[in-house]
């Protein structure tokens, strides 16, 4: 590649100017406050982690990890999400802390560069993790919290689609017993969102008409609580039954939270099969082409750090939400300019300090290049201040 021009930066990273930062901070504060009220306390972890620990354990695929070498040649990664670092902390620094633990975060995370706009290499995630609760109520709490967080962030119209990896595991084992390759092929097609490939694979597998039909009907298992009955009709496998029972319990709990209007069940929402172990979900906002949040249950992760525990959590894609929500409704603070001459500096600076101690925003300057045609008010407006106080 040619030497970069001075204004260029790597693809996928962004600058944020003051207006955007103000908006981002408002979202961050509102969401973290919301989670604080649910008892989730904020945690910070380092930007760099070892590849062999957090890197390998994270749900990010290897080629998307941002890898670096330290001086000794050890591979380190820029964190690709906050879930694996939090698991590390829960299993080490917090290992004597009783479970369940409720933790929240707002953090920048990194993915390897891709050559296209819209696929970011650094972005913000705001989320929460509930560690040590294996119940459907725990899953419902996390979904309800994700909904509360989206509302707190200012997202108006959104839907959460909930699935469960256990249903498909069970159904595929039942319909394709002892054919792990075929099961993986089907899961891979669903993960790639390739329904045509899924149906073509079913035709190749020489299945009975009954098995083919019920496997194909998975693609239509979308809707409210009623789809649980349909799901039970097509799968008798214990894993699948457990998954449906669990989803029904989550749904009922979400009704009691009063948020089921935001929720739909979709048994093709599966996230990453190797990572998620139970319920998974994804959130979508109207007018935005990309999901705004995702989450689910990952009961195998903590074990990799030496403290086996059930866990469930979610992350908002805060950058995406930034594109979506309007300007903050609160007015920006009044900005006052205090201009002084050398002779009256003590007096001017004392005045400024006094105003700041009462919460004012004050800029001090030694002189103003004042247009003689304007009065003080006109001068303030032309410089972008709400007021000018002169000590000349």
């Amino acid at each position: 590649m040619a030497k970069p021009k001075v204004f260029e930066k790597p693809t996928g990273v962004k600058d944020y100017l003051p207006e955007a930062v103000a908006k981002l901070r408002t979202i961050e504060r509102n969401v973290l406050d919301c989670m604080e009220r649910w008892g989730y306390r904020q945690i910070m972890t380092p930007t760099l982690e070892y590849y062999d620990t957090v890197g390998v354990a994270s749900s990010t695929s290897d080629e998307k990890l941002f890898k670096l070498l330290d001086k000794k040649g050890t591979t380190v990664v820029l964190r690709s999400d906050m879930t694996a670092p939090i698991a590390r902390v829960v299993a080490s620094l917090l290992k004597d802390h009783p479970l369940p633990l409720r933790l929240s975060y707002h953090s920048n995370v990194f993915r390897a560069f891709e050559d296209e706009a819209g696929r970011e290499a650094e972005f913000f995630q705001t989320g929460g993790e509930l560690v040590g609760d294996a119940t459907a109520d725990g899953d419902a709490e996390v979904v309800a919290l994700a909904i509360a967080a989206l509302k707190a962030a200012g997202v108006q119209s959104f839907k959460i689609a909930i699935g469960h990896v256990g249903f498909l595991h069970g159904l595929f084992e039942e319909a394709l017993p002892d054919r792990p390759d075929a099961q993986d092929a089907l899961k891979d097609r669903l993960l790639q969102r390739d329904h045509v490939g899924f149906r073509n694979a079913l035709r190749r597998f020489s299945l009975s008409e009954f098995d083919r039909d019920r496997l194909e009907s998975v693609l239509r298992l979308r809707g409210g609580r009623e789809i649980c009955e349909r799901a039970e009709r097509i799968a008798e496998h214990e894993k699948a039954r457990d998954a449906v029972r669990h989803l029904r319990e989550v749904w009922d709990a979400l009704c009691d939270y009063g948020v089921s209007g935001h929720v739909l069940l979709d048994l093709t929402v599966i996230g990453d099969f190797s990572y998620y172990t139970g319920m998974t979900f994804e959130g979508y906002a109207a007018d935005l082409g990309f999901p705004v949040c995702n989450g689910g249950r990952y009961d195998n992760l903590l074990r990799q750090f030496g403290r086996p525990a059930a866990a469930t959590g979610f992350a908002l894609k805060t950058n995406r939400i930034l594109e979506l929500v309007g300007e903050p409704t609160a007015l920006p603070p009044r900005r006052v300019l205090v201009a002084y001459s050398a002779r009256r500096r003590t007096e001017a600076l004392r005045h400024a300090a006094d105003m700041r101690s009462r919460g004012g925003t004050v800029v001090v300057t030694q002189r103003v290049d004042r247009d003689p045609n304007f009065g003080a008010a006109g001068c303030a407006a032309s410089l972008g201040y709400d007021d000018v106080i002169e000590f000349l």
């Binding site: 329904h195 045509v196 149906r199 979308r222 979508y284 109207a286 082409g289």
Partner: protein, 209 residues
Amino acid sequence: MAYLLKVAVPKGRIAKHVHRLFNEAGLTIPECLDETRKFVVPAPDLGMEFIVAKPADVPTYVEYGVADIGIAGKDVLMEENRHVYELLDLGIARCRFSVIGLPDWRPTLHPRVASKFPNVASQYFREKGQQVEVIKLNGNVELAPLIGLADRIVDLVETGNTIRENGLVELEVIADVTSRLIANRVSYRMKHEAVQRLCDQLQRAIPLV
């Protein structure tokens, strides 16, 4: 109608197939998408709006969500690797991806493959465990083996006439290609009733193989 579906359709060769398929599904597109000079064709009776796009760009519009739904060739989907739902095989614009070469082709020490679809070509040979050098060309790919730029090419074959007329043969078939109905990840869920209805209507009109 509650939802307005934005549908990205390819202009050119495939447009008239799409037009006919929609017609047979009982969905009358108000203008001929192949002849119109408009980029956006509203169809308020259908609750839809058609965005007329270059075929290779359809998956991009759909991935970014500026179109909810799109019609794209499997060739483009294989080459572009976009994050979209592939919902339905529309069975139109049928052709295949093939490896093509001279009839007396023999394996060479440093194989070179020319293609308009470099990602499809490199992925295919990697999966076969062969390391080849892929050269991207923009058209008239059949020329490459004739003048010695590459020993083989990867290209779409519809009737096979072009390759026969140039004295070439199809060595291997990589994949069958047809047009697909694709959907944006968010639209698929936020507008799932409208998307499913369109899917079902088109399914009934798809020509049986």
